[in-house]
Structures are given as C-alpha cells and as structure tokens.
C-alpha cells in the first residue's frame, strides 16, 4: 500500500511549487505538511529566505530533507500537527494531500490554528475528463491526475473545486486567492467563470485564512476583483474574493 503523501504527487515536475512560492511573502515562516524530499521548502529557503519546517511520513524522504538542511518531523500529518503552538507559522501548506486525510475539516482547522494562512492544493475531481470517464465508461476515473484504482487509492476524500469552496464557506474561511491549473503546465484563464474552472481545471490552489469578521449566517455581499499579473511569460488570473 502506498503511504499517504508518497504517491499522491502525480507530476514529476511540481510547477505548482513555483506558483505557491509566488504566493508566499519572503522571510516568513512556513510549515509544509507532507513535504516529501523537501523540493518546495528548499526552493522557498533558497529563493526567499523563508524559515522552513516540514512533516513527512517517509524516512527516506526525510534523509533527503536533512541533507538540504531542512528541519523535518517524521510523522503522520493526521495526528502530528498538535506539536505546534497556536500561530507558530505564517503559512501552512498542504500540497495535494487533503483528499487523503482522515478528516479534512480537522486538518484545515489545525492548519489555521498553527498558521495565519493555509495553502491547499487539490486535484479537481469534477474535471470534465473524470465526468466523461464516469459517464461513458461507468468506472472510477484513473488518469494522470488520479493514477490509482478505487481499491488501492490513498485518496479517500475526493472533492471538486466547488466542493472545497463550499467547505470553506461552511467553516467561515476566507479564500484570499485561488489559482486553477491543468496538468499540461498551463494555467487556465477562466475570466471569472468558476463554473468553467470546476469543469476544466485539474488542480486548484487556494490561499485561505480564518474569517475574522464573519459570523455564521451573516448575509453575503461578495464582490470580485480580477487581478491579472504576469508570471513566467504567461497570463495568470487570480481572484480576490472578500466578504
């Protein structure tokens, strides 16, 4: 059986690391949950002078982190976050692992207890390819993004981009930024059409924080602001959504 966090990474080149690095402010303090061999943390440490910590379940991966001078704790993210006191980090990152967590809601709460911001990246189960696969083949989708058969997958809590947004809403979490990606290294320019994102995106990356001002049941007066910034020669659409 695959250990959680070990084989969920579906693409060798994690170009999402670049995007995550772009979100994070320099000199901040970051915890990467399921940090693997420390690629993202090492990148953050070298390029932005970030104080990096990690949690990883595989000892082999940790040995690679240690050579790079990273501090990593051996353990299962499902139960090791209690190590850290409240607000000990600026960002807690959970890269393509939330769908493999026992209780995603608890993880989100823990992440936002120990960090000001949480960065979550997740595969979008509602991608059109998956929808078509299920519709025409009638079997659980297996492809590059989700490379496991249903009986051997570590992914136990699949969700779509919209599902995740709904969960954030339910938990009164503010989504500060969201970025949608396809597997072909191209970012989707969705022009504000989240329905389209939920249909075409392979992955979503979310920057979330606790909503300090929101009370349960408060009337929503959402506004959207589209910011186009140039990145690596491509046009990225980012959404800022406040309440």
């Amino acid at each position: 059986m695959n250990a959680i966090g070990e084989n969920i990474i579906t693409h060798k080149i994690r170009y999402d690391h670049e995007i995550i690095a772009n979100i994070i402010k320099s000199k901040s303090k970051v915890l990467d949950i399921g940090c693997g061999s420390g690629d993202l943390l090492y990148h953050l440490k070298k390029s932005k002078g970030i104080d990096c910590r990690g949690i990883e379940i595989s000892q082999e991966m940790i040995a690679k982190c240690l050579v790079r001078g990273l501090s990593v704790i051996h353990g299962d993210a499902n139960c090791e976050l209690h190590f850290y006191p409240d607000s000990s980090f600026d960002y807690a990152i959970l890269g393509q692992t939330i769908q493999a967590m026992n209780n995603p809601q608890d993880i989100l709460e823990e992440m936002l207890r120990i960090a000001k911001y949480a960065i979550i990246s997740l595969p979008n189960f509602a991608n059109y390819k998956n929808r078509l696969h299920l519709m025409f083949k009638g079997t659980m989708p297996v492809n590059k993004t989700i490379p496991f058969q249903w009986f051997e997958t570590p992914n136990i809590h699949f969700c779509s981009i919209r599902d995740f947004e709904n969960l954030c809403k339910k938990m009164n979490l503010t989504i500060e930024k969201k970025i949608f990606l396809t597997s072909k290294h191209r970012l989707i320019n969705v022009f504000g059409q989240e329905i389209i994102a939920n249909f075409f995106a392979d992955y979503g990356i979310f920057l979330i924080r606790k909503d300090e001002f929101c009370h349960t049941g408060q009337e929503e007066f959402a506004f959207k602001k589209i910011n186009n910034i140039s990145y690596s020669g491509r046009l990225i659409s980012q959404f800022y959504k406040g309440r």
């Binding site: 051996h74 190590f83 000990s88």
Partner: protein, 384 residues
C-alpha cells in the same frame, strides 16, 4: 598519558589508553554539592582537529559503553561499539571530522569513578564515591572540550544514556554546540526503567562478594550479582519480537527437556553469556553509580514541570539544530517520549527534525548497522 587498570574477577591488568587530568585550576562542583579537582577522564579521538577547531564531534556513550567507539576494545578485543558509523569514508567521516569520545564520569574505563583511589585514604572510593548525575558527566565532557581548545562543537551525538547527555548539553552549554542528535532516549527515566535499574543494583548489593562495596580491598568480585544485573538489563535492550526471532523456544543442542534447572533454552544461554562477558570488563560499583545518575535524570521537573523551558536558552542559538532519532520497537525509551521532546523543542521554535527508525532489535537497534540510521545522521551532520 596512558595508564593501566585492573578488570574482572581475576583483576587482570589492561592498558586503557589516553587519559587527561581535568579541573586542576578550578574544581568541578557536582550536583550533590561536593567538589572534585584534578580528576582523570579517559578518551579516544579519531581524525584531526582543523585549524579553526570547528570540525569536532563529541560522541556520548551509553550506560555501559566506553570511549572505544571506533577502535578495538582492549579487553574484549572486539571492534568499537559504533565501528560501522565512525571511520574513514563512513557515515561520520574521520577524514572530515575530529571525533571525540570520553568515558563518562563514574565510569570504569579510566575516568574518575568508584575504582579510582581516594587520596585521603589511599583506598578505592568504592561506595563512598560521590553520587553523580548526567549533568556532572556533561560538565566533565565540557572540561575535556576546553582542554582541546574547542569553542564550539559541530555536533554532539549519543544514544540512550548518551542521548540524555546530548539533551543535557543543550541545557547546560546551549551556545557551545551546533547540531544535537539524541538517539533512543528520553527527557526523564521512566518509573519502569528505574525499577529495572533497582533490580540490577539490588542483585549486585545482595551478592556477598560485594563486601559492602569494598570488594577490591578483599580481592573478591560480585560475579553473580553483576552478571544478574546485566541479564535483567539485557531483556530490556531487546524486545519480544526480537527474542522470538533470535531464540524462540529453541533448546541448546537437544530436542527434549532434561527436567532439571540446567541452562536449557537458548535465550537462557544468551543471557548467561551476556552476563559472564560483562563481568570481565565492568566495575560493579560503577554500575551502581551510573544507573543512579540515569535514574535521577528528569529535565521536566528540573524546569518546573515544563519541558519547553529547558530549551529556551538553546532556542537563542541561531546555529542550533536538533535531530531526534527513536527506534520503533524500543520499549525502554518508546517513541512517545521522543515525541514529547520534539513537541517541547518545536514550541520553542527550535529547528527540530525527528526520525523514527523502523527497527527490529528493540532499544539496541541504534547499535546495530541500519541504513536508515546512517542516512539520517549523515544527512544531518553534512547539511548545507
């Protein structure tokens, strides 16, 4: 300076290597209040100290270990206890690092211990030796480091009792170390472990040849007591699955019971073998004092019940990093205890790594060659 010392029931004399006398200018004040001065510490070094004296690694040995970490033991003639770890082109490469290992205070391999002669009475201290602590051992190691003119150690590494010394280094000399690797250890000795130690001590003291601690004067030796103490302790160093795997219920070269109290099972044979080997190289009084020192170790209560407070000073050492290693099937120092240290260190914002080694030899796993263990230590001490 090299000296000789007597070992075992036959008081055979062996050459025990390098010795230095420390605490000459200023006596060392022990935790019990007594002061010691001009006392010997025996040590071994490997590799060469570089010009700016920044490549030194201190190895802290375990309860009944000694300074022969990577060279032939003068009594047993066996390889050093961490021979697979330390040496040229090994995990801790002596071409790159200057490795120091000293016999702990209270030990019997040349350092100041119960076997040493009391200048006032011209007799061995025996049971009148001052009761020492892990912290006292570390103070003595610090004097040795000063003797070498080393301002800051690149790393301090130790397992079990040695791991306690590593933790004590971070609390007593937080600015004199960069990297700390406590292995298979705890912030305090658990009641269960104290219980096992007490059984061992009582076994020695119940032996009539112990002579109230004065066996050297009487030219006797509590062989049965000391080997019984070792046998009990050895059960705790392994684990149920290891005993099952190594010995099972197998008998010694026979297929049926002999219906008497001979040593029949292989596990019995193994324990007797361990016991009889141990008495050849270890001093019974030393065993009493060292086990006591380990039992006294409790960083949590030293810092008002809050373990994090122990590491507050270390957290100001910008270069300071911890890498905690525990063994999965160690029931003497279970991984939970290491997790508690990890939590305390993390809450002080100290750069902490923690690795659980999948092992199958219980507590002794850190003394047995293991790729995971080697990779972890190699990665941590050679980090950039």
């Amino acid at each position: 300076m090299k000296v000789k010392s007597c070992f075992g029931p036959n008081y055979k004399e062996y050459d025990i290597g390098e010795i230095v006398f420390l605490g000459k200018e200023q006596p060392l004040k022990l935790s019990c209040g007594l002061e010691i001065s001009d006392f010997p510490i025996a040590y071994q070094t490997y590799g060469t100290l570089n010009e700016d004296r920044s490549n030194a690694i201190l190895i802290c040995h375990a309860l009944t270990g000694d300074q022969y970490v990577a060279s032939t033991h003068p009594i047993t003639q066996k390889n050093g206890w961490w021979d697979f770890m330390i040496g040229k082109n090994k995990t801790i490469d002596t071409k790159k690092y200057f490795v120091i290992c000293s016999n702990i205070l209270g030990g019997c391999m040349g350092s100041f211990g119960p076997k040493s002669i009391d200048k006032k009475t011209s007799k061995p201290y025996g049971i009148n030796f001052p009761v020492i602590t892990i912290q006292d051992m570390v103070h003595a190691q610090n004097l040795l480091i000063e003797h070498f003119g080393i301002k800051k150690l690149h790393a301090v590494i130790g397992g079990s009792t040695g791991g306690m010394q590593v933790l004590a280094w971070s609390t007593l000399y937080p600015n004199k170390v960069k990297l700390l690797i406590p292995i298979a250890t705890s912030y305090r000795h658990s009641p269960q472990n104290i219980a096992f130690h007490e059984v061992g001590r009582q076994a020695i003291m119940a032996d009539s040849n112990w002579c109230e601690g004065n066996y050297i004067e009487h030219k006797k030796f509590p062989i049965r007591g000391l080997s019984l103490a070792r046998m009990t302790a050895h059960i705790t160093y392994l684990c149920e699955s290891a005993l099952q795997r190594k010995f099972g219920r197998d008998l010694n070269n026979k297929n049926s019971f002999s219906f008497n109290f001979d040593c029949e099972f292989q596990i019995e044979n193994y324990l007797h073998h361990q016991g009889s080997r141990f008495v050849e190289r270890f001093d019974p009084n030393s065993y009493l004092f060292i086990t006591k020192a380990v039992d006294y170790f409790d960083l949590e209560s030293d810092y008002m019940g809050n373990l994090s407070n122990a590491f507050v000073k270390f957290s100001k050492n910008k270069e300071g990093k911890f890498c905690l290693i525990s063994c999965l099937d160690d029931w003497l120092f279970p991984t939970q205890e290491t997790k508690k240290i990890t939590k305390a260190l993390s809450s002080c914002s100290i750069n902490t790594s923690s690795v659980i080694i999948s092992s199958n030899n219980g507590h002794d796993s850190f003394l047995i060659e293991n790729e995971m263990l080697k990779n972890t230590i190699y990665g941590f001490i050679n980090q950039n």
